[in-house]
Symmetry: C2
Subunit: 417 residues, 2 copies
């Protein structure tokens, strides 16, 4: 039995399958007879010395985590300052780790988390504290470099493609006397990965989505309206997918300039409703819009089986890499072949992942800017393939688990930021 | 083999399971060796003499309709004028029916469609044309009287409950450093059936949804904000479900007074974003909002098994009632017992259904106005119970069918309104 404790924590926006990664981490830790602690609300739990002892979780609870969305013990949006700016907080973390004999730290998140794990591993080395730090990938934004895709993205992508396909059938049925333009807003402030996923709903000029607006392209109101009108003429209705992050040519977010609502309060974003209003006013057609927001990243009921497998594989690999002392790495997903889809897990230095952002390849966006290419379909298809529904109860709802544990007693003074 | 043709048409907003009703209608018609025609875009197809001969559909297509959302050959939002106002259009319909030897007419929709079927049956009698008219229930609004529930509602209700449960886990995980108030907007302009369905996501003070705003209650801004603040204090985050149809005490829709957006255009409704903005401004917390719009009524991937069974049963019964000459009735769903849930189909005169609207019982809304009662849960639970997922393809998408048929040749002059 290895000496010391393993600490697992979740960071950034949660996903439909991040708890599946946690489930795999805890299962692997148990298999290796390592005690795994879980930090409440990500790295904040480590700073605040708020830990759960996962040995108290039942095996059935750990298993059920694999089909439960959200983050079971909380995540956080909290970026550590640089070591130069605030060395004290890194030293605080090492103090806490030392107090709880934490020898392995697994941080499950995106870019910022990879950066945090990397910095912590450096500080630990400087302070001569034996710590192995592993970054575990997760993000619906799919914007980590090196890894072929990010756990969480495939399920959000599947949700998006299926939802657009379903809503499009509704719109097609009603268009003769009702809604003619339907606008669907997807997440993605910088890269159009989820917007692209919507393109999987249909392949062909006449099939929805008829029009995708990517954050990669500057928004051109005239070109947009002309394209919608052209689709209305040929198809009779138009399904538009828009990324929340589209910008004007001058760089401003289209959703930014919100105006006032009925209460006289500033409007929140919502580029979807904005474009719908534009079509209504300029093209004089009935419009509808949908903004699924958190639904798209928490829809465990529609998780991709491939994504779930990835999420669990990176969790298991992270424990194995940690116990093997592979400090400062991330288990990444490497695509071996498209058809048949084959993949493997390979560790990669965090130093080459942290603070980089993967953009969508230009070759994935159609030349007219309003759709995806065959290369994009080849990339996306295996990621949304396969279903992995949760078990359902007699109440008609998925049997999600809401584990509850007492916090471990603190050993240090309270953290003062 | 009975003489004459049966005509099936869809009306009003489509649902996740209205095509399942169609599938059952066509299957039953085939079993009785009756030729079934299908009108394009509902009653408009009858006025325009636009019919499909469903004998040309493959058995596999008819089967696949049962797992395909939307309306396969189009629906319509078109209310016939009264017989007194426009007798000509009723006579046109009888002319068309006579030309195509249509002896049975099945109109699949809500209140308006029941009314249309009833009026047509009266005019046919007056004109001595042998026609049996059946109203087939369908509406996510669940507002038809007599029937215990309406096909389409159960699936939208399940979608709502599951989506709120999933998003709530996301919000709970992030609340410490991110979104504290999440607002989810459901359909329902007059009755809070779908808002109530959201209540199935959790049972207990601390569980989401923490707050439901029903169209049955006048919106009270101060009481709303006080309740949100109270939930924030005790739970740490707050999930709000709001019906699109909530009104001020003076009767105006809260979503009505839209203001202007960045383009200077009138804002479309969206009471969800409006309430989120209100919480942000008054309570100074981070907010998010979701408006699933058409997704909630087209989510065949998450259909309720009970709802699907209802949808198919009314389709089959409609054909049997028609062939038995039961003119002017609707096959309704009658609840026999709650536990175990048992139900049966019973015909009821359209005259007692058309133009009535079923409100949600007062006893279904909690005394504080912000949640549902045990009686409501007892009613809703069997309706969202059971899963009936569609088959999926290798592309990761449900294998929906998009049947295509040529229109039958017209026999009359074009319809001029």
């Amino acid at each position: 039995m290895p000496k010391g404790h393993l600490l697992y924590a979740q960071s950034g926006g949660v996903t439909a399958v991040i708890n599946a990664t946690a489930s795999a981490v805890l299962t692997a830790a148990r298999a290796h007879k390592v005690t795994a602690l879980w930090a409440k609300n990500g790295i904040l739990g480590a700073l605040r010395e708020e830990f759960y002892d996962t040995r108290k979780l039942k095996a059935a609870e750990i298993k059920a985590l694999a089909h439960t969305p959200g983050g079971a013990f909380g995540s956080c949006r909290f970026k550590l300052k640089s070591i130069e700016q605030d060395r004290a907080q890194y030293e605080r973390l090492i103090d806490v780790f030392r107090a709880h004999d934490i020898r392995w730290f697994l941080y499950n998140g995106g870019n910022d988390s990879a950066d945090t794990a990397l910095k912590l591993s450096k500080v630990a080395t400087e302070l001569d504290y034996p710590l192995t730090c592993i970054g575990v990938p997760k993000t619906v934004d799919n914007d980590l470099v090196v890894t072929d895709c990010c756990p969480g993205f495939g399920s959000a992508a599947k949700y998006t493609a299926v939802s657009v396909a379903e809503a499009a059938l509704d719109v097609a049925a009603m268009a003769d006397t009702s809604t003619k333009v339907f606008v669907y807003e997807v997440m993605g402030r910088h890269a159009g990965w989820l917007a692209a996923a919507a393109g999987m709903a249909g392949d062909g000029e006449d099939l929805a989505p008829h029009l995708i607006l990517f954050p990669e392209n500057a928004f051109d109101e005239a070109a947009f309206l002309a394209k919608v009108q052209s689709v209305l003429t040929t198809v009779g209705h138009c399904v538009v997918v828009v990324s929340e992050g589209i910008r004007h040519a001058d760089g401003r977010f289209v959703a930014e300039a919100g105006g006032k609502d009925a209460f006289g309060h500033s409007r929140l974003g919502g580029v979807g409703p904005m474009l719908a209003a534009l079509c209504k006013d300029k093209l004089d057609v009935k419009v509808h819009w949908a903004v699924p927001d958190y639904l798209q990243r928490s829809a465990r009921h529609l998780a991709s089986k491939t994504d779930l497998a990835h999420a669990m594989a990176v969790g298991k690999a992270a424990v194995e890499l940690a116990l093997a002392g592979k400090n400062g790495v991330m288990p990444t997903i490497q695509r071996v072949s498209d058809k048949p889809y084959r993949w493997k897990i390979a560790p990669h230095p965090l130093s080459e992942i942290a603070n980089h952002e993967k953009a969508m390849p230009k070759a994935f966006i159609r030349k007219d800017g309003f759709g995806i290419t065959k290369a994009c379909r080849t990339y996306l298809e295996p990621l949304i393939r396969g279903e992995a529904p949760p078990p359902y109860g007699r109440d008609g709802l998925p049997a999600f688990v809401r584990p509850s544990l007492p916090l471990l007693p603190k050993k240090l003074a309270a953290w003062s930021k």
